[in-house]
């Protein structure tokens, strides 16, 4: 089974801070890492390869330094990496991002499965996976945490829902977005990491022209949405500390919760 895993490089923090004056992300001093969910997607892909054969290709769109997540993926056992980088890609919204990624998937070709993380910790929209599937016209399953058997051209997976899970049979090729619950990702292997840094590493770098896209189709120009302003919401909620002995405070708390029909 040939698998393409979409990985994104994100700032290493779940608490991305915004500059209160400009509203932009503060990126200085913050390392970039592989998006946490994508690590689980990659692990799932590597396990499928180990049990059923095939190749794992990782695909990422980002600035040149996003090469590091490709190298790391090769260090974990991916067979090939493709980095999409071009000044013109900058400022892409999720539409432009998924359009570009979709084109790259088509150019890579010959795939049975596309795996994405559930969500990126910076953009946080969880839109890319579903949009790439729509672009390619293939079935999608989100919130996948378990992959069962592959039977011919279909696969059975488990998908997390609020009160439990769903088991679904999906025809291939398909796209899944994978949650952290799926597995615990392996460590990279140093020898493979070093090989990924070498000139002969199986890594390709493509720009818009390589994908046959014009600058009008990608990045800020190719985006359907434009950010007018980004700002941290003002926290309006004031806390209240219940005074008195613990017993009194508990009674008070229970009373208030009942009053609001919360318990």
């Amino acid at each position: 089974m040939n698998i393409i895993v979409l990985i994104k490089q994100v700032p290493d923090t779940t608490e991305v801070k915004l500059d209160p004056r400009t509203g932009n992300l503060i990126r200085e001093g913050i390392d970039s890492v592989m998006n946490p969910d994508d690590r689980h997607a990659l692990e799932a892909g590597l396990r499928l390869k180990e049990s059923g054969g095939g190749k794992v290709t990782v695909l990422s769109m980002g600035p040149p330094q996003a090469i590091d997540v490709i190298s790391e993926a090769l260090g974990m056992g991916a067979d090939r990496g493709v980095l999409l980088t071009d000044r013109a890609f900058a400022g892409a919204d999720t539409w432009a991002t998924s359009h570009t990624l979709g084109k790259a998937v088509e150019k890579i070709g010959d795939y049975d499965l596309i795996l994405c993380g559930r969500q990126a910790i910076d953009g946080d929209t969880a839109q890319i996976g579903p949009q790439v599937a729509e672009y390619l016209g293939i079935p999608q399953v989100t919130y996948v945490f378990g992959m069962e058997e592959v039977k011919g051209r279909s696969m059975t997976v488990r998908r997390r829902i609020e009160a439990g899970y769903e088991r679904l049979r999906v025809s291939l090729p398909a796209l899944f977005t994978v949650t952290a619950e799926a597995n615990s990702p392996r460590d990279p292997v140093i020898g493979s990491l070093l090989a990924a840094c070498g000139a002969k590493a199986p890594i390709q770098v493509w720009d818009a022209a390589d994908l046959g896209m014009t600058t009008a189709q990608v990045g800020l120009e190719g985006s359907l949405t434009h950010v007018i302003r980004t700002f941290p919401p003002k926290s309006q909620r004031a806390g209240e500390i219940l005074e008195g002995s613990p017993a009194q405070a508990v009674e008070d708390l229970v009373g208030r919760l009942k009053e609001r029909n919360l318990i």
């Binding site: 460590d187 990279p188 140093i190 020898g191 840094c197």
Partner: protein, 377 residues
């Protein structure tokens, strides 16, 4: 062509491992005081032990700089795990790699690279510490091989090792010119291992004495040519000193990070203690020591990688960085006030573990004598 920077990538990978797996468990591992087998094997699966060896011969295809980056990062998490790793990558396996037969490589070296076998290195004897000319463990030709008799002490990994690289005397009259390395598997008849020593720091590193009584080994277990032991030891001495310096850099970084964090948090007299100049002075000294240590260390590792002889530079790096690590251990325990004296915090561990750096690879008394000589005295 766009490619990742190998040094930055390896550092980042190790830092991730240290921050998510090692540092959070450092206290627990240190207090358990047992050889951390599970972590040892996991580091093996990451291919760390082969960092200095070429990829086509079972290594990971790195170099001394990358090796020291790994040592530094691990030492930031827990010194004893870093020390065991350092041993496995270098002293414990180097002569086996260079001089072992294909069968020995298959049976011992490759499993050691995967973390399935533990290596160790035995120079020191009760009467031979700094003065290796006193080595008294005898290797005597015996039929098709050698008979080994004698005693080693301060053997890192002694209690858990699967094989030993042992410096023995083949010709006592020649003293240092008569010593050679021998390979001795632990399960060879006549090898006995003492109980682990009780140590001040690096408490999960298991150290013991070894006794060899009428131990018979085949001829191919002599690692390197006759009379070449000292020359072979010298071939890795600069690297041992760089490694020790890198361990010291890692410890300083950990002590500095904890100091800064605490100085930001702790408030006394209405202000965080980081606002007081006396505390700032300590932080400034630690940061400067750290930077200088790092520069000295990686200057020397790069010389090794470029095959430029650098025993002077490596000795200065070891001397400076490890003394600086002792200063850092001192300062962090002051900045944390009474909490620096509490076993709950890591500061006390830096204070104990820094002593580990002072002896192996040459004591500072010996290093300073040499440095003075190289300076022209």
């Amino acid at each position: 062509m766009i490619r990742s920077d190998a040094e930055a990538l390896v550092r980042k990978t190790m830092a991730r491992f240290v921050d998510s797996e090692l540092a959070p468990r450092a206290k627990e591992i240190d207090e358990a005081g047992e050889f951390p087998g599970e972590i040892f094997r996991r580091i093996g699966r990451m291919g760390v032990y082969g960092i200095r060896y070429p990829r086509d011969r079972g290594g990971s295809g790195g170099n001394t700089t990358l090796y020291c980056i790994i040592c530094e990062e691990l030492a930031r998490g827990l010194m004893s795990v870093a020390a065991i790793t350092a041993m496995q990558c270098l002293m414990g396996t180097n002569f086996l790699f260079h001089f072992g037969s294909p069968e020995m490589i298959e049976e011992y070296f490759l499993p050691a690279m995967r973390g399935e076998k533990v290596a160790s290195f035995c120079l020191t004897e009760p009467e031979a510490g700094s003065d290796l000319g006193n080595v008294n463990t005898r290797a005597v030709p015996d039929g098709d091989g050698y008979r080994i008799d004698g005693m080693k002490t301060w053997v890192t990994n002694g209690p858990v090792a699967d094989f030993f690289t042992v410096l023995c005397q083949t010709d006592p009259a020649k003293r240092l010119k008569g010593v050679n390395f021998f390979f001795i598997p632990r399960d060879t008849a006549g090898v006995s291992v003492s109980k682990p020593f009780d140590l001040l720091g690096t408490r999960t590193t298991k150290i013991s004495e070894l006794a060899f009584t009428d131990v018979r080994i085949p001829r191919r277990y002599m690692l390197g040519g006759e009379g070449q032991g000292m020359r072979n030891l010298m071939s890795i001495l600069a690297e041992i000193r760089c490694m020790t310096a890198a361990l010291a850099v890692g410890l300083q970084q950990a002590a500095l990070n904890d100091s800064i964090r605490y100085a930001h948090e702790r408030a006394q007299f209405g202000s965080t203690i980081g606002r007081y100049q006396m505390i700032q002075g300590k932080i400034a000294d630690m940061a400067t020591d750290l930077d200088a240590s790092r520069l000295l260390t990686y200057r020397a590792t790069r010389m090794i990688d470029e095959k430029i002889s650098c025993i002077k530079e490596a000795s200065m790096a070891k001397y400076f960085a490890t003394e600086a690590a002792c200063r850092a251990g001192d300062k962090v325990t002051r900045i944390l006030g009474a909490y620096g004296y509490s076993m709950e915090y890591s500061a006390q561990r830096y204070y104990r573990d820094n002593r580990f750096l002072l002896y192996g690879g040459g004591t500072h008394e010996i290093l300073r004598q040499n440095i003075a000589r190289w300076a022209g005295l």
